[in-house]
Symmetry: C2
Subunit: 318 residues, 2 copies
């Protein structure tokens, strides 16, 4: 009996699922982050060991695996280096090591031709057409990730600072941010942003929720920021679709900005439908099951509908 | 005999000058950075001690001082806290403790009504009209400093990443950046930007020089980035002028972007002249002498032309 293991790593948490070749759930586990560049090799090893050791003990046969973890593709020989670390840590030589956006793509397109876009704290696009694959955006918080929650947060705080200065007309956005975070004055505001002991990236990304609330109330600056975000996300998808030469492409969406922010999603869909006649969906499966799908496809090509049905059941359980 | 001490602190270096009441140079010294928020209190103390102890030994009478150091105005009670640290470190109770942009302003306007703008690694505007003072921009590298070298660098690297993806049309900018920094591929590019062991802020600010070179060769993206920088810097100055209700204001400029980048400077001048009829100059004195001017003004109001002439001579010597 063969087993299939999917792993979805991330900067805040990591999930792993083991299923039988019939798609029956054997074991599932969620643990700490596994971004080797952000968290370091020691944390990466420790968290993978915590998650994978108990799961692998449940496998009574060969394990075909697909690990989707951040930072793959961002440093030289990343697949080989990560593969060796996993092997020396838990005794498993991974079948596939890919960026976490790739398992997200597989969970959204079920491994079929198409493009997947994630806009959570960061933003990235990945697509495949046959054997051709492409990655767009995802250049990180300093120079890239346009349209992500972090990017929306930075732009919103920038508008607040300009309103405080009088460079921009004051709207309710400024008072709203101050009230929500309990800032008394600009000292509190600066300290909150620049405090070196905080997780600055997540904190600033959390501001995007306030931008959405303000946009729903009609704040013109919040609306402008979200419109730009939609355009940036759509541009990344359109670039991927064109480079892959996909016709009437399937575009699947993941991440809080595209799943929960209806203003961004609506405008994004309008642009990509208009521009490349895309069919836009929200991924039905959790990314970790995209790992399972890629592991299965690796050994057997296309996956029968019955197995996909089984994985949808697993999706409800995990 | 009274002595006047000016200090210009910064994130990369700190300069101090001691003059007699006739404006004769007694002593000058340059040392390490004194940004208490970026470098920490220990470095702040050590560098101030290295610079000020030998200088203060040369003063044979009362010392009136003005310290311009970063981070003043950015945390609560900053003047009082910094004043106490200086007193306990070198035995001098500073007469005035101000942000370094204020000594820059005094070196540019000679302490007269007007607005000073600095665009170096960061960007900030400070102005006075009688007893009224104002500060605009300078909100730091994450949410502010629009039009600074850091900001220009971030935008330029963002355009490069979009050209690599195919989100933007490829121009010579991309190859130029890769050649100058000797990047072989996108791995080198990402590693250079995100390397946690480097001084990321200065490194990214250094890219602004390449943007200028590309703009001079007509690269449309480089020109667009510099045009936006000019507009942002002009907007900050115009906001300060209007809030201060200055008529035909004196606007003095400091920092590499406004002093060396002729494209930014020209457009910036056009906008502020057109909008508020400003007289735009480059500061004739080094900022540290702005500290001396403020210390002198503190005890004697207006400063005679003869003393200003003497300070210009000092400016040549330091």
């Amino acid at each position: 009996m063969r087993y299939f293991l999917g792993v979805d790593g991330g900067g805040t948490k990591t999930q792993a699922v083991l299923v039988t070749e019939d798609g029956e759930l054997v074991s599932e586990r969620t643990g700490g982050p596994t971004n080797i560049l952000e968290n370091g090799e020691e944390t990466f090893r420790k968290n993978l060991e915590d998650i994978l050791k108990p799961i692998l003990m449940k496998a009574k046969g060969e394990v075909i695996s697909c690990l989707g973890v951040p930072a793959v593709g961002e440093f030289r020989n990343s697949e080989r280096i990560i593969s060796r670390i996993v092997e020396s840590t838990v005794g498993l030589k991974p079948t596939l090591v890919v960026n976490d956006v790739v398992v997200g793509w597989a969970s959204g397109t079920l491994g079929r031709d198409g493009v997947h876009i994630v806009s959570g704290t960061g933003a990235i696009v990945y697509g495949r057409h046959g054997r051709k694959e492409i990655r767009v955006s995802g250049w990180g918080s300093i120079i890239g990730d346009e349209g992500s929650a972090y990017h929306i947060g930075v732009e919103t705080l920038g508008v607040v600072s300009k309103q405080l200065d009088g460079r921009l007309e004051r709207t309710m956005l400024c008072d709203f941010v101050f009230e929500r975070f309990n800032f008394k004055d600009h000292y509190d505001f600066i300290q909150w942003i620049y405090d070196p002991h905080s997780d600055r990236r997540s904190k600033i990304a959390s501001v995007a929720v306030l931008t959405y609330e303000m946009a729903k109330k009609g704040d013109k600056f919040a609306l402008e920021i979200l419109e730009r975000a939609s355009e940036e996300l759509a541009c990344a998808v359109i670039t991927a679709v064109k480079k892959l030469e996909l016709k009437n492409p399937l575009v699947s969406c993941g991440g809080s900005v595209l799943v929960k922010n209806e203003i961004v999603r609506k405008k994004f869909e309008e642009i990509v439908k208009e521009s490349v006649n895309a069919k836009v969906v929200t991924a039905r499966l959790k990314p970790v099951l995209g790992g399972v799908i890629l592991a299965m496809k690796h050994v057997s090509g296309d996956i029968p509908e019955a197995i996909i049905g089984k994985l949808e059941e697993v999706n409800e359980m995990i």
